[in-house]
């Protein structure tokens, strides 16, 4: 066990966990922030995507000991009620079917749009191909991303 002060969504959270614990399980089990999802545990599906200093990162393979002073943003940090432009675009396009992967999709899309506010289809493909949607909502995800006006 070790103590960590994690800066998550602008607030400092103290957790006592094993240093090897992936951030995913710190968020879900220690901090009750369950918007970040478990899908594969090996950075293959993107359901657990969060931002680390603004970059989209798979939290299922990110040990808590590697975070240090970096800023963590989770889906809960985008907005309380879905007012973030990317969340609004998701609602406008009614993207979700089962919805399980969508928080990870939104986090990847948000990181993309921050760096590249007007991505081409090919750039969206490249950024989003790490996030699996088993229900097959990819077309709506793309439409939603393209509709976001930063």
């Amino acid at each position: 066990m070790a103590s960590y002060n994690l800066k998550i969504n602008g607030k400092t959270n103290k957790v006592d966990v094993d240093p090897s614990t992936p951030l995913l399980w710190v968020l879900r089990d220690s901090l009750n922030m369950v918007g970040t999802k478990f899908g594969c545990g090996m950075a293959q599906c993107g359901a657990c995507t969060i931002h680390l200093d603004g970059n989209a990162v798979r939290s299922c393979v990110l040990p808590v000991s590697a975070i240090g002073k970096q800023d963590v943003t989770t889906i809960e940090g985008l907005s309380e009620k879905g007012e973030h432009p990317v969340q609004k675009a998701w609602l406008e396009h009614d993207v979700a079917q089962c919805g399980y992967c969508q928080t990870g999709q939104i986090m990847t899309a948000t990181a993309l749009l921050k760096k590249n506010p007007n991505p081409t289809d090919a750039e969206i493909d490249a950024a989003m191909s790490g996030n699996i949607c088993r229900c097959g909502t990819y077309l709506r995800i793309k439409e939603a991303i393209k509709s976001v006006k930063q």
Binding site: V17, D18, S20, T21, P22, W25, D29, S30, N32, M33, V34, G35, K37, F38, G39, C40, G41, M42, A43, Q44, C45, G46, A47, T74, I75, E76, E80, K81, G82, Q87, W90, L91, D94, A96, Q97, C98, G99, Y100, C101, Q102, T103, I106, D121, I124, D125, A126, M128, S129, G130, N131, I132, C133, R134, C135, G136, T137, Y138, L139, R140, K142
Partner: protein, 750 residues
């Protein structure tokens, strides 16, 4: 207005006043009980009980509607309440939706699957809404001293020609005292203002903000986390294990083996047994359990042949032998080829197929194969249980609580009324969550520890557990006479461990001489329903075969289908054809029109077409394919569907688009193979799923305009994708594709 009659409406609805004013309306399931029984095999009461708190209207006009069926992405949390709201005639923005409790007596079958949710609840929910509306009218009539038939409603408001008006909320308490109406007036579809008009997902905001909704998010104070270690291969069982190292790990509470079913347990239809003895590792947090599990030392041994006791079809019980062999995909293929040559069970015969084939000028014979598929729901299997000697609370993602409860009751030795099943949103189902082993597992673990426990599967646990789409093969034969007329058709299908053949489906009914046969190979690899069971293979095989038959006959593939369907419509062969040829024709014609099939401007496109009937609906696709970087991709798809009335069109389009992408993904890449009994794919690094960059650029979805009661949508658009993809591959590459998965290239790593 249409009048509906029902001989059994006596106790159709019950109502009661809410404590703070307003009405709580309860409606009976029983008028639809017969239909529901046919669909789900649940024992429903002859006389229905009320649906408590199904509709609530508060004095401030909030309308709360419970959703009876669990949500797994098919949009029932939106579309089912829309049906109630339509007949109730309320403003959709005042509607609040909640998931209902598990109560098959009061809420009906509550079964998510078989493309049944909207189909099964369409009439009961319309009746509920209409009855409530008529009671509100009656309350207003009494209050105002006017005749009820002079009162009209609109968007939650009652009004009378005298100028009197009131919101529903004002009349709700009085309405609760009004006798339940005997004759219900339902709206004509042309008067709908909610149904057939797109509404956003009622859980949309919760989904995009990451609120706890799914089973895996479920948590109670003091809850422990459990994982299971199942045998590494089908046909292996636990020999011995050493817990010493695991128990030393931080946060670990207990490690023990447990049995899913007791010796001789009579399994119900959804009690598939993959592994009967497993090891549970239980601790304080997920990572601690995952981490400690790596220290587990286990020895496994072959099971040999085992016996299962299954509930008999139509009463009694039967014993089956589960073979112990450790299966490998190449030997499975050899075994299937061997069985395919043996005599098989005749499933249907029309005319004289033997003579037709003997006299044929040309015989076309093709064999199609498809592998096991894992469901791979994005949310791995998980469930919560808190079992005490007095009662059990279980909660999580589950498609069919009514099928799980009886087994849970037997396993825990608790009466059903001491078992509470809560249904969370599911992170996908596709059939997998109709099978409840994970519920039994966590219940066993919780009972032993007398503590609240959440069981979580890792992706590897999930993918290697079985309950797969079966492995299938089918040989199709067509006999053509000298004038290239189709005079005979034969399908012989088999699989591990079930045969896929739907003997009464098209082209049965359209060919004079027809033969359908099936065979099965028993296996220890467990199977389960997978989005459009059997159809998902048949449509691939049959629809590719018809493409080749059309080519041999020198006919356009859509025209050949239309000719055969015309025959089936006007002068059908046989009596048990289970499709409606007119609706099938309607879908093909819509597809032809919307895709511009055969139009000069599309001449250069590499297109494949397929259409199929299953789960009471009709769907077809035209797939346009291209080669990029040396690999085939589906560029664009045009889809046509006849599922009767479409309740929530935008969500329905989403569902069809998703089915198309799911179909392309499984046709191109999906496969679960075995080596010495072990699944060779264990996670998404080697089980290839279709990804964002591999999806078509455009999928245009068109629905046949219809006033037919809804006939289901979750499954029907899925099977024909496989056939359309195979046929487009032929146009693109010049090669016919008979074996799934069609494409096998390394995927890009993320």
């Amino acid at each position: 207005m249409e009048n509906t009659k029902s001989q059994s409406r006596r106790s159709f609805l019950k109502s009661s006043a809410l404590a703070g004013g307003g009405i709580m309306l309860s409606f009976s399931w029983f008028s639809e009980a017969e239909a529901a029984e046919k669909t789900t095999k649940l024992n429903l009461p002859e006389q229905g009980a009320e649906l408590t708190a199904y509709i609530k209207i508060t004095p401030d006009n909030v309308v709360k509607i419970l959703c009876p069926n669990p949500e797994f992405g098919q949009n029932v949390m939106t579309s089912l309440p829309m049906i109630v709201a339509e007949e109730l005639d309320v403003d959709w923005k005042n509607v609040v939706v909640e998931m209902g409790p598990h109560d098959n007596v009061k809420l009906g079958p509550q079964f998510t699957g078989g493309s049944n949710s909207v189909r099964m609840y369409w009439k009961p929910l319309r009746n509920a809404g209409a009855a409530a509306r008529q009671m509100l009218i009656e309350a207003a009539a009494q209050t105002w001293g006017v005749s009820a038939n002079e009162i009209t409603t609109k968007a939650g408001e009652l009004s009378h020609s005298s100028g009197k008006s009131a919101k529903y909320g004002e009349m709700a308490s009085k309405a609760a005292t009004v006798p339940v109406p005997k004759d219900l007036k339902l709206k004509a579809p042309k008067d709908f203002s909610i149904v057939s008009y797109s509404k956003k997902n009622t859980e949309g905001v919760k989904l995009v903000t990451g609120k706890p909704l799914f089973g895996i998010d479920y948590k109670v104070e003091g809850m422990l986390v459990a994982m299971i270690q199942h045998p590494p291969a089908f046909g292996m069982k636990l020999k011995s294990f050493d817990t010493a190292q695991v128990l030393k790990m931080p946060g670990i509470k207990d490690v023990f083996s447990f049995k899913l079913y007791d010796e001789g347990f009579e399994q119900g239809g959804f009690d598939t047994r993959t592994f009967n003895e497993m090891i549970a590792i239980v601790g304080n947090s997920t990572w601690e359990v995952m981490n400690a599990r790596k220290k587990l030392s286990v020895k496994w041994e072959p099971t040999g042949d085992t016996k299962d006791t299954l509930a008999g079809r139509g009463g009694g019980k039967r014993e089956v032998v589960v073979p112990g062999r450790l299966e490998t995909t190449s030997s499975q293929m050899e075994l299937m080829a061997e069985y395919a040559k043996k005599p098989a069970q005749q499933l249907r015969k029309d005319g004289d197929p033997e003579t037709a084939f003997k006299n044929a000028a040309q015989i076309i014979e093709r064999t199609y194969n498809a592998p096991f598929l894992a469901h791979n729901t994005m949310e791995p299997m998980n469930f919560f249980a808190h079992v005490t000697p007095e009662k059990a609370i279980v909660a999580g993602p589950l498609q069919a609580p009514g099928w799980i409860e009886p087994t849970l009751s037997k396993i825990l030795n608790l009466p059903a009324d001491k078992i509470e099943i809560q249904m969370t949103r599911m992170g996908g189902g596709f059939g997998r969550r109709a099978y409840g082993q994970y519920v039994y597992e966590v219940a066993r673990i919780s009972q032993r520890l007398n503590a609240p426990v959440k069981l979580i599967y890792t992706r590897e646990d999930d993918m290697t557990y079985g309950i797969y789409r079966p492995m299938y093969t089918a040989t199709y034969r067509a006999a053509l006479d000298a004038n290239k007329n189709l005079i005979g058709f034969q399908v012989r299908g088999g699989g591990i461990p079930e045969n896929p053949v739907h003997a009464n489906r098209f082209p049965a009914g359209a060919v004079d001489n027809y033969l359908a046969e099936g065979w099965e190979i028993p296996s220890n690899i467990t199977i389960g329903a997978f989005r459009a069971p059997r159809s998902n293979f048949n449509a691939a095989a049959e629809q590719s075969f018809l493409d080749e038959v059309a080519e041999a006959m020198g006919k356009d593939p859509i025209e050949l289908r239309l000719e055969l369907l015309k025959r089936a419509k006007e002068n059908p062969v046989g009596k048990n054809n289970d499709y409606d040829a007119s609706r099938y024709i309607g879908v093909l014609e819509l597809l032809k029109e919307k895709s511009g099939w055969g139009k000069p401007e599309n001449a250069a496109k590499k297109r494949g077409v397929a259409a199929y009937f299953c789960h009471n609906s009709y769907a077809g696709h035209v797939v346009d394919m291209v080669i990029r970087d040396g690999h085939p991709y589906v560029e664009q798809v045009t889809s046509a569907v006849d599922c009767g009335v479409v309740v929530n069109p935008d969500a329905a389009r989403n569902m069809v688009q998703g089915a198309v992408i799911d179909g392309i993904g499984n046709a191109f890449y999906g496969a679960l193979t075995h080596k010495e009994g072990a699944a060779e794919q264990t996670n998404f690094h080697n089980y290839r799923m279709i990804r964002h960059n591999e999806a078509p650029k455009k999928i245009d979805v068109h629905f046949v305009e219809s006033e037919v009661d809804p006939t289901g949508l979750g499954e029907p658009p899925f099977p024909p994708v496989f056939g359309a993809v195979a046929n487009a591959l032929f146009k693109t590459t010049g090669k016919r594709y008979y074996n799934q998965p069609f494409v096998s290239v390394p995927q890009k790593s993320s």
